[in-house]
Symmetry: C2
Subunit: 557 residues, 2 copies
């Protein structure tokens, strides 16, 4: 074994591989193809022998039921032809769905296709796992063969996505395909990935890959995509490992990039130190949210956003992210004070709008509120003020914001945070309106940390917004803590229940007050129906509301 | 082979099996357990030796991520203990999740558990398929063994759910577990199912089961659950086949029932004629929708509904279903005329309210509309009337309906139909409001057929509502056909695109006008974002919006 290992090393031929980390749009074949060709030609001009793109790069990851459209696959095949025709002098390894003609099987493979001087080789993904974000098993047949790519004197193990996992929610992901391939004596591993961001993922992804590198003492190149599609954000972070387990080359997070690596360096010189630098959690979340907002608008063909600015922390953060992502000339805000709004709220909102230099309008809602109450008076017949009137204010704001959205073509951004979404502290069709939820996967305590991160060099979010007690201002002197535990406590319980999937008993056993835990869990469970009607939430945590946490609405929990 | 087959027939001992088709509530262990015990004791009093319940009956099907809660499984185990303790003199075969302790595998099996005089036997489901409605693979390990239940002198093949499929979207469902078990020479098949309703399913389900019966010449008993959980409706329709392929005993659709069958009859007397009667499509959809509305309210603990009644067909139908499901004293409607509402609309709405004998209020929206326009005037600055003002009217109605909902505790029912939902002909946070979409899986042309079915004996839906041209009445003399093709044409194109998953080219090749097809498909694709924010839609078709049709929001299609 040792001998043969050495033998392959002896005939090693140095090769330059380009890692092309690009931002694709699902179904936009023309744009994706142009990007791929342009990056390939650039890599060629830099001296690359082979350029590697990410999983399903040709069509964008993940296309869901588009994979079932009969013309979609034809467009994929055509895109491969175009790439092959336009890239003469460099070999291209690119992710693309390819047909499977075997009877009684899924009609597609998730493949890596090598295009090389008119020749093609196809390597199909084997570990089609149960990822709750992308149900690949609905579409793809797992590969039933294992073989290496022999190219340029090299024996390359080509992996797609979860082929390289060693762990995960699905037992299938406990296997690593390298264990099957290593007997064929590869000298290099190339992985095409589409690994979605959460704030734990840059570190976890590196750790998972490094296990494979160290176990088999083989250099490994991994290319991920970058950019967002509605709720899902991809952070890039492609990298090349030397065979000693150190990261030799790390591509940036949240940016397109093409970088060359030299297989000589990866294998023989054994990079002395790890070159992967992972930003801190708040920096990652910050950049992810900017990417998420930017790509939602640009890929949908929208330019302009509108936000209801209350003077509170959440709408301030969303406005900041909109300006970062779209530019100040593309963001307008509306202040919607009611009879219960405090002076400091209006002032904090105006301060932020001025600081960010954006258009703001003020539309007091009291006349409209009075008009609703007058019309409803015969129906309500003297019943007292209750949550109805609170929700009414929130819904009037929603209607005004949607009217501004319709009239000017600005997409309304939702400002709910994860703590509110969890316990249902929000009004359906009111403050829960919007085309995209920007901070719906950010707990309130994380929102504070994010604001402090944004303010680290200068005051952008008014400090008063950060330090005052949070309030919905829907009745006199209201505070969030009238209805909810302090956010610090609430968020710790929610984290245990949602991210850690602990039961009430397990959380109580950690020392939390039993009544509070049961009350919080009851609120979470009772408000599942609200979370079914919200906009896509930009996902930044390992367990966002949406696809990953699927609960019945009608149930006794 | 023939010899041994005959041998088992010789020692046949007649047995009475009770099919218990019940309506469970997910997670309501106490209620489910009581129902199971009560049905078992009733069956015992009727002379049954064995009573069979449906798949996951103990916890209700399908519990989604509740299966990951650590206390949920404990409650399942406890429920089994209670059933075993309370049912002394009858054997019980009941669906329940059971733990799997094998390392590196999913932690649960989807099992049928036999409780018999203190003894237990567990039979696990093997075909854990890719059903888009219930991702069982997320939770359950497939059984890795095949064996028979030997009980009362019988050799019984116990099947759970898709174990008996011969076809389906997932290749795993192309296999039928009977092909593996038949070599062990069973003399009877018992299937525990949880098979969700669509209008094609009663027939398809019977056909699938009959294939197994005829192929192996074995009697077969199938027990399904009945009742609804938010969007999913289960129709029951449990049945027992004689070994010649005829249905000997058919349980009703959409009703709880316990029926006894005699294995002697099933095997030897060979039922002369098929006793399964499947109601026509509109009768099935009618009963499904009544069940869906009824169970949503009763299982959520709600009693009362509110509907915005426009004088059009959709809201008339929804009001009718609410009255059927909840009783007239639990339904109130609000008429919300604007300056664009016609006299006949108001009259048709009042006629229906009087016919159904329900409370109705009238709240004209013009004063509120004027108040919004006055407040927005400084922002809108003289821009002309456009879709903004149309949407504004729809949203004012939504706000009023939600205010009535909040004040009186009546759940708002949504009135959108499938044609509108498909092309986005509706206002988010306006007419798309509501806790449950009643006819969101019913095309407009089907809505007409449903109304005629309802009126078959007397005029309940005013005929004028059925015969007049549909209009949203959001500007003067508006007709739906100003924006959409005629519904008859639109629905045929939508059916090809959604249910049949045809491409534009394939639909055009059927003879439809190219420009119309492309326009309709563009509308469907552009409005995916709206469909992500709607209430659960009662599913009655084989391809409802929601889990079954998953498309990216951000994509170029």
């Amino acid at each position: 074994m040792l001998f043969s290992f050495t033998f392959y090393r002896i005939i090693w031929i140095p090769m330059k591989i380009a890692l092309a980390q690009l931002n694709y749009c699902i179904g936009d074949f023309e744009r994706n193809t142009d990007k791929i060709v342009e990056a390939a030609l650039h890599a060629q001009s830099e001296g690359a022998d082979l350029v590697v793109f990410s999983e399903l790069a040709v069509c964008g990851y993940f296309p869901f039921d588009c994979l079932e459209f009969s013309d979609f696959l034809g467009k994929c095949a055509h895109a491969l032809d175009v790439i092959a025709t336009r890239c003469h002098d460099i070999a291209v390894l690119v992710g693309c769905p390819v047909p499977n003609t075997n009877e009684g099987q899924k009609p597609l493979y998730n493949a890596a296709v090598l295009l090389d001087h008119g020749q093609r080789q196809v390597f199909c993904k084997k570990h089609i796992g149960a990822n709750p974000l992308f149900d690949e098993r609905k579409y793809f047949q797992p590969a039933d063969d294992d073989r290496l790519l022999e190219w340029g004197g090299h024996r390359i193990a080509v992996m797609v996505g979860d082929d390289l996992r060693n762990q995960g929610p699905d037992p299938i992901l406990m296997e690593n395909r390298m264990d099957a391939l290593v007997g064929m004596q590869p000298d290099l591993v190339i992985a095409l990935a589409a690994s979605a961001f959460d704030y734990t993922m840059p570190r976890r992804r590196c750790d998972i890959l490094r296990q494979t590198v160290l176990k088999h003492e083989l250099p490994l190149v991994m290319v991920n995509q970058v950019g967002a599609h509605s709720h899902l954000i991809f952070d890039g972070g492609s990298m090349a490992f030397a065979s000693n387990g150190h990261v030799d080359t790390a591509l940036p997070f949240f940016e397109e990039a093409v970088r060359l690596v030299d297989t000589d360096t990866l294998c023989f010189f054994r990079t002395a130190e790890d070159r992967l630098e992972i930003p801190e959690k708040m920096a990652l979340i910050h950049d992810a949210l900017v990417t998420g907002v930017h790509d939602y608008f640009h890929k949908m063909g929208f330019k302009d956003a509108v936000i209801g600015l209350s003077g509170g922390l959440d709408s301030a953060l969303v406005t900041y992210f909109a300006v970062q992502a779209l530019g100040k000339e593309h963001v307008r805000v509306v202040l919607l004070p009611s009879q219960f709004s405090t002076d400091h709220s209006v002032k904090d909102a105006v301060d932020l709008a001025k600081k960010l230099d954006i258009v703001y309008d003020t539309v007091p809602i009291k006349p409209i509120y009075d008009s609703f109450m007058a019309s409803l008076q015969p129906v309500f017949a003297g019943r007292p003020f209750d949550v109805t009137e609170e929700n009414l204010q929130a819904r009037i704001r929603g209607v005004i914001l949607m009217a501004v959205s319709n009239k000017f073509g600005n997409v309304l951004l939702n400002t709910s945070n994860k703590s509110e979404a969890a316990v249902g502290y929000g009004t359906l069709y009111g403050d829960m309106c919007g085309g995209l939820s920007v901070i719906g996967d950010v707990y309130k305590t994380e929102a504070y940390a994010l604001a402090r991160y944004i303010n680290k060099e200068e005051e952008i979010i008014p400090w008063n917004t950060i330090t005052k007690a949070p309030s919905a201002e829907l009745r006199p002197d209201q505070k969030d803590t009238d209805s909810l535990p302090e956010y610090d406590l609430l968020d710790r319980i929610l984290f245990q229940y949602i991210e850690e999937a602990c039961s009430a008993e397990e959380i109580i056993a950690q020392g939390f007050d039993e009544a509070t835990v049961r009350r919080v869990i009851r609120m979470v469970n009772r408000n599942e129906f609200k979370r079914k009607q919200v906009a896509p939430i930009l996902r930044v945590s390992p367990r966002a509301f949406g696809n990953e946490r699927v609960l019945p609405i009608v149930a006794k929990l």
